[in-house]
Structures are given as C-alpha cells and as structure tokens.
Symmetry: C2
Subunit: 419 residues, 2 copies
C-alpha cells in the first residue's frame, strides 16, 4: 500500500460522448466517497477547458438520485471538449488550478487523445514534484484503444445498431416485391469495429439474414465487386441490407466520401459514404431503388437500447480508477481484461497512459471472412458477450427520464486565464 | 345481429410497414379463432399481389408462440405491397380467388390507398352478389387517415423519435464548446404529424429543451427566417437541434428537396431535406458545423422502442375488425375514438371505407405555435397519451427476438394469373 495521499478528486470527460460515459462518472463519484483520504469530489466542466477556466463543480453536493440517474443518462453530464492543450502555458495552468484546489486525484474519461492529455499532465506534475495521481478511464464507441480487451461504450453502440438492423430487416424483407437496397451508415473513422458489430443482427444458423454486406475500412473498396455483390444478394433475397463504416477507403487508401474539412485534431470529418454507395447502386443496377439510414450521433447516445454488460463495465471502470489511485497507482488507464473461461468474465487491469495514448487497435483481419463483407466466428465470440442484457432506463410520461446535474460551482481562486 | 355468414377469413397487409402492424395481425388471427362461423384463417402474402397469384398461407397452422410473438415484431409478417390494382381484370381475379377459397371475410391493414383498394373489392363483390364482408384495419405512421382520432403506428414512431431526440440532446448539449447544429430528418410526406411528435422530447416547463426548431410541411419554409432562428438558438444554447419532415415545402408549395422520382402511386419520392438545411446553415453561418441524422426506415420499424398504448390499440383494432365483420358489418374501416374524460381512453368505431379512402387528415394549424417552429398545448394533449408505456419485447442473446411465420401454403385451386 502506498503512502496515503489526502486531497481532492477532479473528474472530467473528454471526446465524443457515449451511452455509458456517465456510468463511469457515477462509478468514480460513488467510489470516491468511500475513501477517507478523499476530501472533495469535483468535476470539471468540458474537460480540460473547465480546468483552464477554473469551471469546477461540486459533485458531492449532487443528490444520490442524480448520481444514480447518471448510470442511464447518455451524453457527457459534465460536458465534454475537443479542445486540445497545445501550449506549455496551458499545461502549467492546469497544474496551477490543481494546486489551488488541492487536486491530488485526477480521473479523465476519454479515448486516446484524452489519455495523451492526461499523460502529459501527469508527467508535468512529476517534473514539478507535485504529488498527483492520474488515472484514465477508457471511453470510446470506436473500440480502438490498445491493451484493453474492449472499451466501455462499444457494446452499447453495437447493441443499438444490431437491434436496429434486425428491425429494418423485418421491414425490408416484407417489401420484397421490388428490389430494395438499404444502406446504413455507421460511425468508425479508422477501424471497422462498429460496422462489424452489425453482424450480430444475424440469427445463429441463418447466414442469409441481414446485414448482407458489411463494408469495412479494413477492406479496400471496389465499386465493381460491390455492385456484383449487391446483384447477387438481390437475386436471392429481393432486398439487400448494407452496413458501411463512414471511414470506407479505396485501394489507394483514400476515403470514398472524403470531405475537405478536418477537426481540431486534424482528423478528416467524414460523412456521405451511404450516399456514395446509393449512387453506385442506382447507376449500376438500373431500376433498383436504394435508401439510406444515417444514425449519426444518435448511435452513440442510445441509452434506451444500451447493453447492461457495457453499462456495468463502464461503472466498474470508474470505480477501479479510484481504487487504483488510492492504492498509489498513477499515470495509468484502467483496462478491461477478459477471463479465459468458457463463460464471459471481465476484470480490470492497468496500462501506462503513454502506451494507450497514441496506439490504435485495428479490427483483426483474420476475424473478417475471405469474402471481405462478413465476420467469422472469432468476431462473434468476441462481440456477443458485450451486448448482453438490457438496462432498466427509468421512464416518465412515456420517455426516458435522464439525470441533469445541479452543477454547484466551486469558488474560483485564481485570476481568469486567456484561452 | 346479421345472419351468420360461414366461411373463411383472409387477412392482408399493405403499404409501408410499422412497428405495430403485426400486432393488428395478431388481433385478427386470435379473434377469428373465437368465432365458429369462421372456418379457416388465411393470410395473403404481399397483400393484393398474393391474392392475384393465389399465394395464401394458413395462419391457423402457425404456433400460438409465433402469433404472440407477432405483437412485438416489426415489419409486415405477411409481406406488404405497393402494387396497385389497376385493371378491372385484376379486381375480377381477386373475386375469383375469394370464391375458390370461400373467403367471406377480408381484413386489410393499410393506409388510404389500401382502404381504397378494399373498398373497390367490396363494391365489386356487392355488384356480383357475392356475400363478402370487408373491414379495413387502420395502419400508418403518417397519422393522416380521416375520421379516426389517430392511427396505429403513429404513437410508436413518435415515441421512438422523441426518445432519440432527447438522447441526442444530452449528447449535443455536452459538446457546447463550439456551435453545433444537428438536423434530424423524419418521415412525413404530406403532413407534419411525425415531425410534430418530436416536440414531446421537451420536458414539461423546460421550453428551451430540444428540439429547438420543428420544420413542418404545414408552414412554408423561408431560408432567411430559418438561418435567423438557428442563430438565435445557438446564441442561447450553443447547440441547435432541428427536426425536419421530409415533405418540407417552400412558399410556392414546392418540396425544398424534391427528387424527380415517383412511386407506384405517383407520389414524389423524397429525401435530402436534412442536407438541404445543412448547406443553408454552413453557408449562412460561417464557422458553424451542421450534422445530420436520417432515421429512414428505422423509424417505422423500431419495435424495441414502441409505445404500449399504440401496440395495445393496434391489437384491439385487429380484434374489432373481426367482431364487426362477424356482426354483419362490411365496407368499413375500424376507427379509434377518444373518450371525453380527463383520463385518456379509447374505443373502436367504424367509418365507411370510401370516406377514408381518399381523405387526408392535416395537422391542425392551430396546434402549431405562432412562431411556426413549435407545437402548443393542444398538440401535447393530443399526442402525449399515444406514447405511454413500454412494450416488453422478448430478448434473446442480447437482441430482440422477432417472430417468423412458418408460412404453410394453401393449395392453389386456380390457373396461374399473369400480372
């Protein structure tokens, strides 16, 4: 056991929200209150931006009802951020704020960019001899963090997508009097994890169930093969349900539907893969109608259809972060480790933030069938446990009732900071 | 009580599927089996097309488990159709098939085009002196059938949309560090019933909740006013969530995003209203990002998020159709009649098919606020009861488990018919 470190907690959320990032927040807050060495539990509004601007709230002042409600609330209750700390001055400011509020425990939920930020904050604190324990909480629907078996947020997005694919399939199969092509565009910039998850919609021993084609960024796209694949499926099924990841690339590695915009991290802003395919179908197969569905941000916010396994693990990851920090760990991210047994089990581990920060976990090529448009049993074995169980979202007057934080502000102690 | 008419039932489904049209089918089948005058219960595959081709199945041979499962299964289990009976010869063929199989009860679930077809079949039977009782079962997410207070299918689609809007709002509100415009496109060709339903996502006494702008076909669209509205909301909220019906029209009554395609009934095939608005925003408000969501056919298939009130009423409408026919009624459609009391209640009635067939119920202009972009208390009072209650969709291995008919074919008795 490390020496006891007495002080305050700060927790923040970063990057794109998920259906369960607030479950991790609930895990951090409820666990933090179990430890006497932790005095105050603060949240930063909009991640690092709230730290720079000293926009902190007192999470211990929130009602227990609200903290419990966070488990079922999508979005990021503290607000999130895509602002990237760039200047050395920004990092210095973070530490000033931490010192001013005696922050000794910093928990940051996010993907690899966010863990990189947490790592840099941690390193600077070490350089300055300021005792600070920094633990990252994994969060991303993209499932692309290295070391961890999977990421909280992923199970829920693929449960929602495969549920909806199964529903659309019932609808489209019923309309089999003219050839119908349905194109469903899902998120996934660099890897096909999300699109691959749609494969779960197929019933066991029903290989002809939708989705009929899954187009992944891992498999270079060929328009000719695509049109032939669609024709073959239409001949058999009278409808063809296609799932496409937004990051689909051609043989040269260029996005098929690239826009010229980029986000704050320099990533290309995508969109339009579905319309791209729609045009190919309607031009390549005369008389066939193609329709598109684009879940957009709805897919990462679908708490009403989230996975209980995912929700439980997100909560667990928040708790584990606090326990690790209290026991003396720092500069690590919580990971999920899958047990070896026949029955799915998971426990938490830790990995260095620096290792997480800049890695990207690709969908294994050997989990994709040779046809390049479907997933094999290895993927099913991996993904099936992640969507198990339904979450009892509380309903009020016919709609999910989500938690809203009171956000009692912590008094500012420092002069304002120019962003 | 009319004279007892002994014979067989034929039930069919027509038009776009909904989350609850199979609940109506379950209502017809389970009620039919209660009446001794009904001998066989057949279903036609793909509506009138299955009649022309004598593609009938024996619904009494299906397991009770499957019939129960229909209550929670989206799509149209019998298959649906958009084929329109045109020639007199087609109608003659329908009656030939009815006579060959001693069909004395015909139940047809669909919207106004389908009720028109049912009406014409009924009239021809009367002309020919063939005793046949025809009762329509209302079905349409569009909620545009006249006489009936509302249509089975509508409550579920607006429950799904308002649930999802509330979720996207949690997500987008969390990202309030740069101005974000979110545009959600929903179905609704001629009327704004579906888009209006998104208003339910607002919590009581939270007028600033999303959706911030609802764009309805009933209110001629002005690009200038739209951009000003978006700017105003962004200033206040930092994000602006817009719901747009696909049938948005300009001051001249032209679709803002009209394509040049038409369906079998001559209706314009729409799509692209969201992208139209996205361009207006990005050109009109420099630096602002606009994102789109398009539920497409997912919205009418979302059984996992369907309304219990709607599901129960769809089942009831199926039962009521059978009871009406057995009691001697014909050439009518089942309607839903709302009770007068403070508490919502509904009972079924009947209206002439001819009255339903070619009417279209518009969203009352006086239910739209003067701002033209939000709904008033009259709409809330109307729509709120329709989304109450959640349906216990059975889950298996993490996903909804839907019913699939065995489809035991009825022996063909007539020569093939050329379509």
């Amino acid at each position: 056991m490390a020496e006891e470190l007495v002080g305050n907690v700060l927790v923040g959320q970063s990057g794109g929200p998920t259906a369960v990032i607030n479950a991790s927040l609930a895990g951090v807050v409820s666990e933090a209150l179990n430890h006497e060495c932790i005095e105050e539990v603060y949240g930063t509004l909009n991640g690092v931006l709230g730290i720079l601007q000293e926009d902190l709230i007192d999470l211990a002042a929130e009602s227990q009802q609200v903290i419990r409600g966070l488990r079922y609330t999508p979005g990021a209750a503290l607000g999130t951020v895509r602002y990237k700390l760039k200047k050395q001055q920004d990092f210095e400011r973070v530490l000033e704020v931490f010192k001013a509020h005696n922050i000794r425990y910093f928990f940051y939920a996010g993907g690899n960019d966010s863990q990189d930020t947490a790592d840099k904050i941690s390193k600077l604190a070490q350089q300055q001899g300021y005792e600070l324990r920094v633990i990252g909480v994994p969060k991303t629907i993209d499932n692309d963090l290295v070391v961890t078996d999977h990421c909280p947020g992923y199970g829920s997005v693929i449960k929602y997508i495969s549920t909806t694919i199964r529903e659309i399939a019932c609808d489209n199969a019923a309309m089999g009097q003219h050839d119908l092509v349905q194109i469903v565009e899902v998120m996934g910039r660099n890897a096909g994890w999300i699109a691959a998850g749609a494969a779960l919609a197929k019933r066991r021993d029903h290989p002809h169930d939708a989705p009929h084609l899954i187009l992944l960024p891992e498999v270079p796209f060929s328009g000719e093969k695509f049109v032939e694949d669609v024709k073959r499926v239409l001949k058999r099924e009278r409808y063809c349900l296609i799932v496409v990841g937004e990051g689909l690339v051609d043989a040269d590695g260029n996005y098929v539907a690239a826009a010229d915009k980029t986000d704050a991290f320099g990533h290309a802003q995508l969109g339009g893969a579905a319309e791209f395919l729609q045009n190919l179908v309607e031009e390549g197969i005369p008389g066939v109608k193609a329709r598109t569905v684009k879940f957009g941000m709805a897919q990462r916010a679908a708490a009403h259809c989230s996975s209980k396994a995912d929700n439980d693990e997100a909560f667990l990851a928040g708790q584990a972060a606090v326990r690790a920090a209290v026991s003396g760990q720092t500069d690590k991210m919580v990971t999920l480790i899958r047990g070896d047994g026949d029955h799915y089990s998971v426990e938490t581990g830790l990995a260095p933030l620096s290792e997480i920060a800049n890695g990207v976990k690709k969908l294994p090529r050997e989990w994709i069938n040779e046809d390049g448009i479907s997933m094999n049993f290895q993927f099913f074995r991996y993904a099936q446990p992640l969507i198990q169980g339904e979450v009892a979202v509380p309903y009020d007057n016919g709609l999910p009732s989500f938690a809203h934080l009171d956000k009692e502000r912590v008094e500012k102690l420092l002069p304002a900071y120019e962003i």
